[in-house]
C-alpha cells in the first residue's frame, strides 16, 4: 500500500473499512472494537458542531446503502432545527423544530439476495452503535431505535449485548463522554414482513401498527416516528459514518467514483466458487468481483444476475463490465439497490426464477393498494401456468400489460420492484418464455386456462 498520489491514485481492489475487524476472533466485543480505534471518532464528533457534522457527511458524498442511494448528509439536513437563539413561542411550540428528533435504523434486511447488514451486525455491532451516536448527535436526537427483522436472532443478540456494553462503558446514556449529550438506543425485533423495510411502513410498525406504507409527503424528516422529525437510515450507511468522521471526506472520496464515493459491501451469492461479502470501492465490476471470488462455480457459464436484489432489473453476461455504482447500474438499465449480486448459471430457467420471485412479491404485498395487491396475484398465477407448460404466447403480452399497470401506479416501491424481474426477464430471455409455450401453439389449445382460477 503506497501513499495516495495526487492524481492517478487507485485504491486496492478490496478496501476493508466496514469489514476490517471481521477476521478478529470475537470481533464483536467492545474490547476489539476499541483496540482498532473504536469510539475515538465519537470524541472528534463531540468536539464538532452538529451542523458541521451534517456538512461533513454531505461533502463526503455518502449515499444510502439501503437501496435508493439518497445522499445521507442531505437527508440529515432536512431535519428542522431551531435557528440559533430561537426559543419556542406559544405559536411555534408545536412546530417540528421544537419536537423531539428520532433516529431509526433500518435493519430489516429482507430484499431477496441481500445479506450484508446481518453479518455486519453479527461481526461488528459497535461500528453501527458508534455511527448511531454520532448521527443522533448530528441531528440532535436523544432516542434511537434499531429495527431488526425478527428472524435473525443471533444478530439481535449481538446488538443487545453490544448496546449493553456501550452503556456500561459510558458511550450511551446520560452526558456521554462528558459532552452533555444524552442518547438511549433500543434494539427492536420485527415480526416477519418484507414491507416493513420500506421506511414509512417501518415507522408504522415501530409504532405498534400493521406495517403499511404512509403517504409521502409528509416525509419522515418532518413527520416520522410519532409524527416528529425522523431520520431513517440503513445499517451499512450508519456504520460507515465513524470512518468518515475519523478519516475525513477526502479520504472517503479516495474510494469509489465521483458521484458514488466510498467503499461498499458487495454480497456475492449463487453459482460462484467463493460466494461471500467483498468490500470494494463503488464502481467495481462483476468481472472483477468474479475474479476475486474464484469465478463461476465448476466453470459453468453465467446466464443472469441481479446487481442489487430481486427488485433490480436482471443483468446478463453482457453486463460484466458495468461499473457497479449508482450511476453505472442505472445507465445500464438497472439499479444498484443493495449490491446483492445473485448469480445464476446456464442451468437455471429464467421463467422459473422470475415465477419464484413473483410469488415472493405476491406473498409480501401488504394489500394496501389495488395495482400491487391484484397485480402480483395475477402475475404469479400467469407465471405459474407458464412454467407448468400451460401457457400461451399471449400470456407474455398479458404479463407485460399487467406490469405496466403496476409500475408507477403502486402506492410504494414494492410494486415497482415486483415487476422488475418480469420485464427484464422477458426483455433479455423472451425466447425462453416462448419456448415454454411451444406446445401450446396448436389452435385447439388456444383457449387459455384461466390463471388463478383453481
Amino acid at each position: 500500500m503506497t501513499e495516495p498520489g495526487p492524481e492517478e491514485y487507485t485504491p486496492d481492489p478490496l478496501t476493508p473499512v466496514l469489514t476490517r475487524r471481521w477476521l478478529l476472533p470475537e470481533s464483536w466485543t467492545l474490547r476489539h472494537y476499541t483496540e482498532l480505534g473504536g469510539y475515538e471518532a465519537l470524541d472528534t464528533a463531540f468536539a464538532t458542531d452538529p451542523a458541521d457534522l451534517v456538512s461533513l457527511v454531505k461533502d463526503s458524498g455518502l449515499r444510502g446503502r439501503g437501496g435508493a442511494g439518497f445522499p445521507t448528509g442531505m437527508k440529515w439536513s432536512f431535519i428542522p432545527q431551531p435557528k440559533p437563539g430561537e426559543e419556542p413561542t406559544a405559536a411555534t411550540k408545536d412546530a417540528p423544530q421544537f419536537k423531539p428528533k428520532y433516529l431509526v435504523i433500518n435493519a430489516d434486511e429482507g430484499e431477496p439476495g441481500t445479506c450484508k447488514d446481518v453479518p455486519l451486525m453479527m461481526a461488528d455491532p459497535h461500528s453501527l452503535i458508534e455511527g448511531c451516536i454520532i448521527t443522533s448527535y448530528a441531528i440532535r436526537a436523544n432516542f434511537c431505535a434499531i429495527y431488526v427483522r425478527g428472524e435473525v436472532v443471533h444478530a439481535l443478540r449481538r446488538l443487545h449485548w453490544a448496546v449493553k456494553e456501550a452503556y456500561d462503558a459510558g458511550h450511551l446514556g446520560r452526558d456521554i463522554h462528558g459532552s452533555g449529550f444524552d442518547l438511549d438506543i433500543v434494539v427492536h425485533a420485527g415480526a416477519g414482513a418484507y414491507i416493513c423495510g420500506e421506511e414509512t411502513a417501518l415507522l408504522d410498525s415501530l409504532e405498534g401498527r400493521r406495517g403499511q406504507p404512509r403517504l409521502k409527503p409528509p416525509f419522515p424528516a418532518t413527520a416520522g416516528l410519532y409524527a416528529a422529525p425522523t431520520v431513517v437510515n440503513n445499517v451499512e450507511t450508519i456504520a460507515t459514518v465513524p470512518s468518515i468522521v475519523a478519516g475525513g471526506k477526502d479520504w472517503f472520496r479516495t474510494m469509489g467514483r465521483e458521484r458514488s464515493p466510498g467503499p461498499k459491501i458487495y454480497s456475492l451469492s449463487g453459482h460462484v466458487e467463493r460466494p461471500g461479502q467483498y468490500e470494494a470501492p463503488l464502481g467495481t465490476t462483476l468481472r472483477e468481483l468474479l475474479e476475486m471470488a474464484g469465478g463461476m462455480k465448476d466453470g459453468i457459464p453465467l446466464k443472469f444476475w441481479t446487481p442489487g436484489g430481486s427488485s433490480t432489473p436482471l443483468f446478463t453476461a453482457e453486463h460484466l463490465d458495468v461499473p457497479l455504482d449508482f450511476e453505472g447500474a442505472a445507465e445500464a438499465g438497472s439499479m444498484l439497490g443493495t449490491t446483492a449480486l445473485m448469480i445464476f448459471n446456464e442451468t437455471v430457467s429464467v421463467p422459473w426464477a422470475v415465477m419464484k420471485w413473483t410469488e415472493f412479491y405476491e406473498h409480501e404485498s401488504c394489500g394496501k393498494c389495488t395495482p400491487c395487491r391484484e397485480g402480483c396475484y395475477w402475475l404469479a398465477g400467469i407465471l405459474r401456468r407458464l412454467t407448468e407448460g400451460r401457457g400461451t404466447e399471449s400470456d407474455i403480452d398479458t404479463l407485460l400489460d399487467v406490469c405496466s399497470n403496476v409500475l408507477g401506479r403502486s402506492f410504494c416501491a414494492l410494486g415497482d420492484g415486483a415487476v422488475s424481474p418480469i420485464t427484464s426477464g422477458i426483455k433479455y430471455f423472451r425466447q425462453e418464455f416462448l419456448d415454454l409455450c411451444a406446445d401450446q401453439q396448436s389452435p385447439a389449445s388456444e383457449t387459455p386456462v384461466l390463471a388463478g382460477a383453481h
Binding site: A123, G150, V153, A193, W251, R274, P275, Q277
Partner: protein, 264 residues
C-alpha cells in the same frame, strides 16, 4: 388486581366484549411494564409484547391478544389486526421447535425446494405452518417455508428457532430433523446453542440476558463463516487495505492510521 377482574372492569367500559382468563400472564406483568418503559410511547411496545405472548402461549391466542390490549389500553381488535399482519406471530400452537426452510429463488436454485419437499415428506406430508407431534411435547416440530433469510451467500439455508443451519443438503436437513425428534439439540452453524421456540421468543421480546435464553455464553455462539469472511480474508492474503487515513490534529499519537486489513 387479578387479570379477570381487570377485563371485567374494562368490559363495563365497552372495550372488551368477552371475558378472558389472563391468569397465565400473571407472572409477566413486570416484563410487560419493562417493555412499555423502553419506548417514548407505549403503543410501540406491541410487537415485543406479542413476542412475549408467544413465549408464554407458544402462539398468539385469545388470551394473549387480551393481555396486550390490557397492558396497552387498546382494544383486542386493534391487537388482532396487528398480530395477523406479521408472519412470525402464529395462530396455532408451535411445536418445541420451528423449522424454517428458505425457498426463495436463490436458495431454491441451490436445493432449497428439494430440502423443503424432503422435510415435509419425512414429517408425514405436513404442510406450511403445520406441526408433527403435539405442541408442548418434546420433539414436536412445526415447519414453514420462509422467504429470503439474509444468508444467500450460505445458501441453501434453514433455521431452527431462527438459528442458522447454513449450506444444507437434503441429507443434512433430514439428519437435523431426526435429531430434533429424538430430543437432541444439534448446534447451529451460526448462532447460539438451541433452546426451543418459546425461549427464543423471550429474546425477541428484548430479554436477552436471562438464563433461559443462554445468557452471555449464547452471544459467543459462532458467526464467522468462511463466506462472511471471504473478502476480508482475500484482502489480508493479498495485502490489500483501504487507503490510509490522514494524520489529524496534534493529539494523534500514531504516525498515520492505516486500516488493518484484518487480524493484526
Amino acid at each position: 388486581m387479578t387479570s379477570t377482574e381487570d377485563v371485567a372492569r374494562r368490559s363495563s367500559t365497552g372495550r372488551t366484549v368477552d371475558e378472558v382468563d389472563l391468569s397465565i400472564f400473571d407472572g409477566q406483568r413486570e416484563r410487560a411494564a419493562a417493555i412499555v418503559a423502553r419506548y417514548p410511547q407505549p403503543r410501540s411496545a406491541l410487537l415485543p409484547l406479542l413476542h412475549l405472548v408467544q413465549h408464554v402461549e407458544g402462539h398468539v391466542g385469545r388470551a394473549g391478544v387480551a393481555f396486550c390490549a390490557d397492558v396497552l389500553d387498546i382494544t383486542p381488535a386493534e391487537v388482532s389486526a396487528v398480530a395477523t399482519f406479521y408472519t412470525m406471530y402464529k395462530r396455532e400452537p408451535v411445536g418445541e421447535h420451528l423449522v424454517s426452510v428458505c425457498t426463495n429463488t436463490l436458495c431454491a436454485a441451490l436445493g432449497g425446494d428439494d430440502i423443503y419437499a424432503a422435510v415435509r415428506e419425512r414429517l408425514g406430508g405436513i404442510g406450511h405452518e403445520e406441526t408433527s407431534g403435539t405442541p408442548g411435547e418434546p420433539g414436536s416440530l412445526t415447519i414453514e417455508h420462509a422467504e429470503c433469510l439474509a444468508a444467500c451467500d450460505l445458501a441453501p439455508v434453514l433455521t431452527v428457532d431462527y438459528e442458522f443451519f447454513d449450506r444444507q443438503t437434503v441429507d443434512s436437513a433430514l439428519e437435523i430433523l431426526d435429531a430434533l425428534q429424538r430430543g437432541e439439540k444439534p448446534h447451529p452453524t451460526r448462532g447460539a446453542p438451541l433452546t426451543d421456540f418459546r425461549s427464543v421468543e423471550l429474546l425477541l421480546a428484548g430479554f436477552f440476558d436471562e438464563p433461559e435464553v443462554g445468557g452471555a455464553a449464547a452471544n459467543a455462539g459462532p458467526s464467522a463463516d468462511p463466506s462472511t469472511l471471504a473478502g476480508a480474508r482475500l484482502a489480508e492474503e493479498r495485502g490489500w487495505t483501504a487507503p490510509p487515513m490522514p494524520e489529524r490534529g496534534p493529539d494523534r499519537t500514531t504516525e498515520s492510521t492505516t486500516l488493518p486489513g484484518g487480524a493484526s
